[in-house]
């Protein structure tokens, strides 16, 4: 009986080895594999108290170009598919203000411009989402070639009034959300 069992095992193993098989595999599926994570991060934050605006003569109370290499880093620029940038403008000062954010390339050429105008306080927080890529978004080349931002802030009101709200200021917030192709 035991011998039969052993024989059966030997036959089984031999059969396993001789007739080992595998379900049909289709490695061409690898071409269809798509890995496209969506990453998000804050971009630029600008804040100015009303006191500083009042103390600055002229229309433009702040203009600054500054380097921003996140978008034209090779890893990002070569993989980015589409996405959006969300802006938020909060004005608790007593004056109408205008903020302009320009996207600049390496040669300081303006690739794109986003203008924001807000009324004096009290006013709602201005929120805007701008899409890039896809069928309806702006060109992704704007993002891929951006290497600097220019922020320009204008006071469209007076230089004397002070808001009755506590700690009056203009705050500009922004964040980016982009889809990347890793595979």
């Amino acid at each position: 009986m035991l011998l039969r069992s052993i024989n059966a095992m030997i036959i089984f193993v031999t059969a396993c080895l001789l007739f080992a098989c595998a379900d049909k595999q289709n490695f061409d599926q690898y071409d269809d594999l798509s890995v496209t994570p969506t990453v998000t991060s804050s971009l630029v934050y600008v804040e100015s108290p009303e006191e500083y605006i009042n103390n600055t003569a002229g229309l433009d109370f702040y203009t600054q170009d500054f380097n921003f290499d996140a978008f034209n880093e090779a890893f990002f620029a070569e993989r980015v598919l589409d996405g959006s940038i969300t802006y938020e403008l909060e004005n608790t000062t007593s004056k109408p203000l205008e903020i302009t954010l320009s996207f600049l390339d390496d040669a300081d050429n303006v690739l794109d411009t986003e203008n924001f105008s807000v009324d004096p306080a009290p006013t709602a927080v201005l929120t805007r989402e701008v899409f890039y890529g896809g069928a309806t978004g702006r060109s992704m080349d704007i993002i891929r070639n951006t290497s600097a931002f220019r922020v320009a802030a204008r006071n469209l009101g007076d230089n004397t009034s002070v808001s009755g709200l506590p700690d009056p200021r203009i705050i500009f917030r922004s964040s980016a959300r982009f889809r990347l192709r890793l595979k």
């Binding site: 052993i6 095992m9 098989c21 269809d32 994570p37 804050s42 630029v44 500054f66």
Partner: protein, 478 residues
């Protein structure tokens, strides 16, 4: 079809190997000299043996934890993206480990002491490869989905745990029958490490949440370290097409050296019942040549470029972007160093209990607490059948891993011995294996295969192993 696809498939399979260290088919298989490597205190009845160089012990083992090639590449009409998402990225847990190991004997031999026949000495050199990686679940999700839809979720950096080594082992063991009941053994090992890398004590997280000033804040709290030794030498060798020479040089005591021990015993509870145990690779390697270590340690919160007036006007030439980058790099510095380090071998523990019965025709019952000396030696291990259980444990970065094995052995005279096993662990409940040891005069050949049911569909196999060897053996009384 380009090479990427099969390589990816092999990577998936290789990266999902588990239980690579457990050699339950060979353990305490007393007909085979290589079983001494798993228990230096195994009962031996050889007078001497000589392994055929490069062929005396070849072992390769593979298995999968949670996923197989078939799960991803089966031609089943399902979208591969759904399969990868559901079965890999979200199907595997941080506790799923992927490991692989192989061992090949360069040469081996053994002999019984002339003046002290109760002593059996064995020695040799073998090469070993051992790699383990735990599935970095949170990092895989982060790479697959990104952080945009997972605000507030901490991606755990401790999920990244990996360790690997390639080394050669020079060993010498003494096996001694202490008395009629007890056999003990010990083996000393000198390790010559060819390659070592370890990153097992990582901690920290990556988190995206609502910002305090800006819309979002990315938080990185990291305490991560990767230690490597030998990697640079192999990279340099690859540049000049001399990888084999470098492996040989570092493997022949030219690499990082270490010291280790194996201990084991066999004890007869009665004539038919035997318990055994062994503790293997109780040792370390001092990595001090060609060391390259990398670390990332600190905590940083990033809310983008911040321009707060009027302070931002103090330096009109300020580069806000570079300041942000510099600040993050200062808070979470990525550093390299070449300081030496000690790596511990993955220590293994085996234990077994075995009950034997049945005598060959023409032989009456014997008292199997017979002595190794003189003619009694040939009377050992004469029972035709053995049944028993084994425990295996191995020390891993996330703690010990265990497996239980039931086995049955059957002998056919002095020609053939068979061993069948059934092993359970957290990954498989259907692991059946079979080993065969065949004698043709003094020539011993053995072959063993694991997880035989998987041969029905190899692509779906989650564990499989094969080991074989060729020895010349003398019992002295042959």
């Amino acid at each position: 079809m380009n090479l990427k696809r099969p390589i990816f498939a092999i990577f998936l399979f290789a990266c999902s190997v588990t239980w690579a260290q457990n050699r339950q088919l060979l353990y305490d298989f007393t007909d085979i000299p290589q079983a001494l490597l798993l228990n230096p205190g195994m009962e031996t009845s050889f007078d001497w043996f000589a392994g055929i160089p490069m062929l005396s012990g070849v072992h390769a083992q593979a298995g999968t934890s949670g996923i197989s090639v078939n799960d991803i590449f089966a031609d089943d009409g399902l979208d591969i993206n759904d399969k990868v998402r559901n079965r890999a990225v979200f199907g595997l847990g941080a506790g799923d480990n992927q490991s692989v190991s192989s061992q090949i004997e360069i040469f081996s031999g053994g002999f019984r002491g002339k003046n002290r026949p109760q002593n059996f000495y064995s020695f040799g050199i073998y090469g070993e490869l051992d790699f383990i990686n735990y599935w970095p679940k949170d990092l895989a999700i982060l790479a697959y989905e990104g952080n945009a839809s997972r605000l507030g979720q901490r991606f755990d950096l401790s999920h990244l745990k990996t360790r690997g080594e390639m080394l050669s082992v020079f060993h010498f063991g003494i096996n001694r029958q202490w008395n009629r009941e007890l056999t003990v053994g010990a083996r000393a090992k000198i390790y010559s490490s060819i390659l070592n890398f370890t990153s097992t004590n990582n901690d920290g997280y990556f988190l995206t949440r609502q910002g305090q000033n800006n819309l979002l804040a990315n938080v990185l709290a990291a305490n991560m370290r990767l230690r490597t030794s030998g990697l640079g030498a192999l990279e340099d060798a690859a540049d000049v097409n001399d990888v084999a020479g470098t492996i040989l040089s570092r493997g022949l005591l030219g690499g990082d050296l270490g010291l280790g021990f194996d201990l084991g015993f066999t004890y007869h509870l009665n004539a038919q019942t035997v318990i055994t145990g062994s503790l293997l690779d109780l040792g370390f390697i001092y990595n001090n040549s060609d060391v390259q270590n990398y670390s990332l340690e600190g905590r940083a919160v990033n809310e983008g470029v911040e321009i707060i007036l009027p302070n931002a006007l103090v330096d009109p030439t300020a580069d806000f972007w570079q300041e942000l980058v510099d600040e993050i790099e200062a808070l979470v510095p990525f550093e390299e160093d070449d300081s030496s380090y000690i790596s511990f071998r993955p220590t293994k523990l085996y234990g077994s209990v075995k009950y034997s019965w049945g005598m060959p025709k023409g032989k009456g019952p014997i008292d199997c607490d017979c002595d190794i000396t003189g003619s009694d030696r040939s009377q050992r291990n004469q029972y035709l059948n053995s049944l028993g259980g084994q425990l295996f444990m191995v020390n891993r970065p996330r703690g010990p891993q265990a497996a239980l094995t039931a086995f049955y052995e059957r002998r056919f005279g002095n020609i053939l011995a068979l061993r069948s096993t059934y092993t359970v662990d957290k990954f498989s409940l259907t692991n059946f294996g079979l080993g065969l040891s065949l004698y043709a005069g003094p020539v011993n050949f053995y072959i063993m295969a694991d997880n035989l049911l998987a041969y029905q569909n190899l692509a779906a196999a989650r564990t499989a192993s094969l080991q074989f060897g060729l020895n010349i053996i003398s019992w002295g009384d042959n």
